[in-house]
């Protein structure tokens, strides 16, 4: 099968991939997001666009993807199963493919109680695993969940999933990755890596199972902007581990923002040394302007040109 996207080309070609992340705003004015996208143009291979992240109503991922396509940039559309049933998920997938989106990241989504519409219904008609299999079956078997055939075959799409080495049961997490691969995942992005020792332990088991050869594993990183941000992630973001020593290190530094960036760059450098890690996903939500610096300092610039 031909590569579906630049991101797939990069990963299949064995290049250490770099992706960025854009969080759409709580309005239809996406001018700031477009600036951020433009600023990272030469530094990332693709852009994740979050899907109502933390259950907060925002401009839709697919809507923003259309704009990115017009800008000549490559989106990875995040799709959670929280807000849409199988009719809508499959229909939105077709809609996004129709205007050129090829990378899809299938997620469960944070529970709606965390967001700004806590009284909403959590749909969860299918789960994230089933969404992966759905996209795979639409692409490879030309069928919808209900068994009916697509009227025209889907072009190649690149199917992604998320994995969280920091969630429990820890011993089960590598097997969950195996299951996601079986369901259709071609690449996976991890939850933000702050506890790199735990990540390495997880990777050891992943390699023992040979999973790094079946899927592209992209490590998630986030630069810590402030002590407050670190504390917030430590206490309020589900499934995240922020070790106390990281906070102590930033606290003890003269330039706290710079130290946050240093930690992020060091993390990427360590990730590059780990066998089986195929790329990095930089999630600098609300601090997008530092992405070029991080990518450059991590030695990942310029990006390979594959055309």
């Amino acid at each position: 099968m031909n590569p579906a996207s630049n991101l797939q080309k990069m990963l299949d070609g064995g290049h250490f991939a770099v992706s960025g992340e854009l969080g759409p705003p709580k309005s239809a004015d996406i001018s700031t997001l477009k600036h951020h996208a433009e600023d990272m143009r030469k530094h990332v291979d693709a852009y994740n666009i979050t899907d109502n992240q933390t259950a907060i109503v925002r401009t839709s991922s697919i809507g923003v993807a259309a704009t990115l396509m017009q800008m000549g940039l490559e989106p990875t559309v995040q799709m959670t199963v929280r807000d849409r049933n199988r009719i809508c998920l499959q229909s939105d997938l077709l809609g996004a493919v129709s205007f050129g989106v090829r990378n899809f990241l299938c997620l469960q989504g944070d529970h709606a109680m965390f967001g700004n519409e806590p009284g909403s219904k959590n749909v969860n008609d299918i789960d994230s695993m089933q969404l992966l299999e759905t996209v795979k079956n639409m692409r490879d078997k030309n069928v919808f969940i209900g068994g009916e055939e697509l009227e025209h075959p889907l072009p190649p799409v690149f199917i992604g999933a998320v994995v969280n080495p920091f969630a429990d049961p820890f011993e089960y997490r590598p097997y969950r990755l195996a299951k996601k691969i079986a369901a259709g995942a071609q690449f996976v992005q991890t939850q933000c890596i702050f506890d790199i020792d735990r990540f390495e332990k997880w990777m050891e088991k992943v390699r023992d199972l040979g999973l790094h050869k079946k899927v592209h594993i992209i490590g998630g990183v986030t630069p810590i902007k402030s002590i407050g941000a670190a504390r917030y992630m430590q206490k309020n973001v589900s499934g995240m581990i922020v070790p106390e020593e990281l906070i102590t290190r930033i606290k003890g530094s003269e330039d706290k923002k710079k130290e946050g960036l240093n930690i992020c760059v060091e993390t990427i450098q360590r990730l590059r040394e780990i066998e089986g890690v195929a790329g990095v996903h930089v999630m600098a939500i609300a601090w997008e302007e530092v992405v070029p610096e991080i990518v450059e300092r991590a030695g990942l610039y310029p990006r390979p040109s594959l055309d």
């Binding site: 089933q130 969630a167 969950r176």
Partner: protein
């Protein structure tokens, strides 16, 4: 059992505003056991309403009665004559009881005194917990007795999400992660391989999503079609 919680007194008083003579009707089965709508709670509700109305200088009057099950016509019929003297019935049954009463006693106004919360069981004295959603297509054989549809906050069928930490669900530290429980149980039973199979999308048409459900058992129906 069906678990309920009595509505706040102010809400009950507001819905009873237009009525002069009210029967607070307890139900003797599920809601008696979960201490929300039985004989005792009916009497307490009457006492509270009487006190409130006295304070407000209202002339309304309430009495309590209790029947075995408000969800069966035969018990409703036994009580129908007694209820005729009341302007309204405040039912302390679950939503099933309120609606069965309304269906059987078309001329009566039957109002809900409880919020029907869930199907569940008493975890300990004073604590009830939900464990069945009535989805119409039981999967407890796959997970060896722990329901992921009900007890996973995201009704996931294929293992724990990334929000499971230290055995707890991301929605609350007071809620166990159902998939941690299932994982532990499958290990104990040496059945962990079951979690490897990708479970296909669930057919929700057997649940409420398929519309209002009715069960018909031809073998036990009366010939007359009653």
């Amino acid at each position: 059992m069906i678990v309920g919680e009595r509505k706040p007194l102010a809400e009950i008083a507001a819905m009873l505003e237009p009525f002069k003579k009210v029967c607070v009707l307890g139900c003797g089965t599920c809601v008696t056991v979960c201490l929300s709508g039985g004989e005792k709670e009916a009497a307490e509700t009457v006492a509270a309403l009487t006190l409130l109305w006295q304070k407000e200088g209202k002339s309304s009057e309430a009495n309590s009665l209790t029947m075995l099950r408000q969800c069966e016509y035969e018990y409703i019929d036994d009580l129908a004559a007694k209820l005729s003297e009341y302007d309204a019935v405040l039912s302390l049954a679950c939503g099933v009881g309120v609606q069965t009463m309304t269906t059987r006693l078309q001329d009566k106004i039957v109002l809900p005194g409880l919020n029907t919360t869930f199907m569940g069981y008493p975890l300990e004295q004073g604590v009830w917990t939900e464990n069945c959603l009535g989805c119409g297509n039981c999967v407890l054989d796959l997970t060896m007795g722990i329901c992921p549809i009900t007890r996973c906050s995201k009704s996931m069928l294929n293992g724990p999400c990334g929000g499971s930490q230290e055995g707890k669900c991301e929605v609350s530290k007071d809620v166990d992660c159902a998939w941690q429980l299932i994982y532990d149980r499958l290990i104990k039973l040496d059945l962990l391989h079951r979690m490897e199979t990708v479970q296909p999308p669930k057919d929700w048409s057997t649940s409420h999503h398929g519309g209002v459900r009715t069960t018909v058992r031809e073998d036990v129906k009366l010939e007359s079609g009653q």
